[in-house]
């Protein structure tokens, strides 16, 4: 891999990527000032999809239960806020901690099985939590949702107003920090071991590495990120609904990730933005047309672009540059 060979070049590329994300985010802020609540939701879901990418893309573990981690963060932040802890940064940390604990639990359970039973375990966990959150309505508000939160101003200055400006910028800042950290994590030796476990578990174990703690670590990191996403949604909308811990959220997150490209942090972001923008437009016209469209897109991706949009773009770029070299010779 050339990544290790030229550290300063990758650093430059990372800074460029971060600047690009910030630019797009700020562009959204100026272009769609009336839709900031929706854009904040996109950021919160982007965090969820990033966290799913850590498990699916970097460890090769298929999961349809990522909503469990997201919902844990959302409910933890929501409950803390209702009970008087209103500092938004602290709430994000609480959400992250709850997500991490849930990630630890979920990883410990899911890593017992492999393949299909593993996938089923992930579904069972998220469904179990959904029913539990529904039943424990005295704490979670049940099917009415948890409401009555009023987060304090960010850093004591910026109010969370009706237009959602501070919520959006807060979310964008959070996304940038998380993205930078994840770039670092996925490129670290730890991230490399995870990729190795995905490609060839036998060889990694022959190198003397025990897979379970490594993967469990990744589950905890993933839970932290997803929990932050949930907490951000709770702060921005000031409501936590039962749908935040549901199979639908988890399945949608997987679809977004696949659309963008698995094993690619940028892919996770691209997939989220495209999917949610399309959903916003088409589902408003007719939700059933939306389902048909998503289904058709999924089939097309599996058949024609198994590496998702970002992977296909990569391939195209490689083909183009190769052709140019060929023409030059």
């Amino acid at each position: 891999m050339p990544a290790a060979a030229s550290g300063s070049r990758t650093l430059g590329r990372d800074l460029l990527g971060l600047a690009l994300i910030a630019l797009v985010g700020l562009g959204g802020y100026w272009l769609f000032p009336d839709n900031l609540a929706f854009l904040t939701r996109v950021i919160s879901v982007a965090l969820l999809v990033l966290s799913l990418d850590l498990i699916v893309g970097y460890c090769g573990i298929a999961s349809l239960g990522q909503g469990a981690l997201y919902g844990a963060g959302a409910y933890a932040a929501g409950i803390a806020c209702v009970h008087g802890i209103t500092d938004p940064v602290l709430l994000i940390l609480i959400g992250a901690a709850a997500g991490a604990v849930m990630g630890l639990l979920m990883g410990a359970i899911m890593l017992r099985a492999h393949g299909l039973p593993q996938l089923v375990l992930s579904i069972a966990i998220v469904q179990l939590l959904h029913e539990a959150a529904n039943k424990a309505s005295s704490i979670t508000g049940g099917s009415d949702g948890l409401s009555g939160m009023s987060p304090a101003p960010l850093f004591g200055v910026f109010e969370f107003d009706l237009w959602g400006r501070s919520a959006y910028l807060f979310g964008l800042g959070l996304l940038l920090i998380v993205f930078a950290v994840l770039r670092f994590v996925t490129r670290s030796p730890f991230g490399m071991i995870c990729r190795g476990l995905k490609e060839d578990p036998l060889r990694i174990s022959a190198l003397g590495i025990y897979a379970f703690p490594v993967l469990l670590n990744m589950f905890v990191i993933s839970g932290t990120v997803a929990g932050m996403g949930g907490a951000l949604a709770a702060i921005a909308t000031q409501v936590v609904g039962l749908d935040s811990v549901s199979f639908e959220v988890s399945a949608n997150a997987l679809v977004m990730l696949v659309l963008g490209g698995i094993g690619h942090l940028y892919g996770a972001l691209i997939g989220t933005v495209i999917f949610m923008a399309l959903e916003h437009i088409v589902a408003a016209i007719n939700p059933f047309h939306w389902m048909t469209l998503v289904g058709a897109v999924l089939i097309a991706i599996v058949l024609f672009a198994p590496r998702g949009l970002s992977g296909t773009l990569d391939e195209l770029a490689r083909l183009l540059t190769r052709n140019r070299w060929g023409a030059g010779r």
Partner: protein, 287 residues
């Protein structure tokens, strides 16, 4: 005592209805190695056809079942040739994604043609009345479902273990290139077993409509249930699927009778416990 008996009968009938639908999924997953999440969508299509034939055309229940099975297979076979054939040897994730995609498409299209309302399949008089067993009566439909489940289980076991087709199928599963070298047309075997699985799904969708009502979200709502049941039983095993369906059906029905406000909580709790204890399913084979 009366409650216990009616819970037991309902649980048994529900488990059998689950079994008729899920056994096809278990076969495609265990024998053909395809995670077909669209299986529930085919059961739903069967239900819609039967409802259309029996209620709107007034053709009767038995005719509705036959039409549903034939119609669903006719819809599924082109899909097998066009789509499924391309994912037989792809990763589980690709299979999951493509079949979720098919499910979404089926839901969207079904709703476009039939609308979002619930479809009923009228029962014939013989099944609608209760059958007297001497000490108490049992709804005829429940008995019919239980009997159908037993017939399906026995028939499939005979087909796979005792007939030439079953030998060819098992050979194709065990080692496809070698089976082809011996002159077995594996693609025909695969297509036939896929059609069989889909036909059973349609049959189960119709007879199980009393438990799992037919509506456009059927495919998505019960997709998880079917998948869970199959992997708890161990993919590809008929006794495993039967055991899982009866066990989970019993837990689900009992919980719904006794603690209805917990919803599916105990169902999924049981699933987690079973999968943790038997990571390959109750009777799954080592891979």
């Amino acid at each position: 005592m009366q409650t216990a008996l009616s819970i037991a009968v309902d649980a048994l009938a529900y488990g059998m209805a689950l079994f008729i639908i899920c056994i096809g999924l278990s076969l495609t997953m265990g024998l053909m190695r395809v995670v077909n999440l669209a299986h529930g969508a085919f059961a739903m299509i069967g239900g819609y056809i039967a409802s259309y034939a029996a209620r709107d055309l007034g053709l009767g229940y038995a005719f509705g079942i036959v039409l549903a099975m034939i119609g669903t297979v006719l819809i599924a076979v082109p899909l097998e040739r066009l789509l499924y054939r391309r994912i037989y040897d792809r990763s589980e994730l690709s299979q999951v994604l493509m079949t979720i995609g098919i499910t979404f498409c089926v839901i969207g299209i079904t709703n476009y043609f039939f609308g979002p309302t619930l479809k009923t399949i009228p029962l014939p008089a013989e099944l609608a009345r209760s059958v007297d067993l001497g000490f108490r009566g049992i709804a005829g439909h429940r008995l019919f479902v239980i009997a159908s489940g037993l017939v399906v289980a026995g028939g499939l076991w005979f087909l796979i273990e005792r007939t030439g087709f079953g030998i060819h199928l098992r050979a194709a599963v065990e080692n496809a290139p070698m089976a082809r070298a011996l002159g077995i047309r594996t693609e025909i075997i695969y297509a036939a077993s896929f059609a069989l699985a889909i036909g059973l799904a349609a049959f189960g969708g119709v007879v199980g409509a009393e438990f799992l009502p037919i509506e456009p979200y059927y495919a998505l709502r019960y997709m998880v249930t079917f998948l869970v049941v199959v992997s708890v039983g161990g993919a590809g095993s008929i006794p495993g699927a039967l055991a899982a369906c009866l066990l989970l059906g019993a837990i689900d029905v009992t919980a719904r009778y006794l603690v209805p406000d917990f919803g599916n909580f105990f169902f999924y709790l049981a699933v987690i416990l079973v999968v943790c204890a038997f990571p390959r399913g109750l009777m799954g084979r080592a891979q």
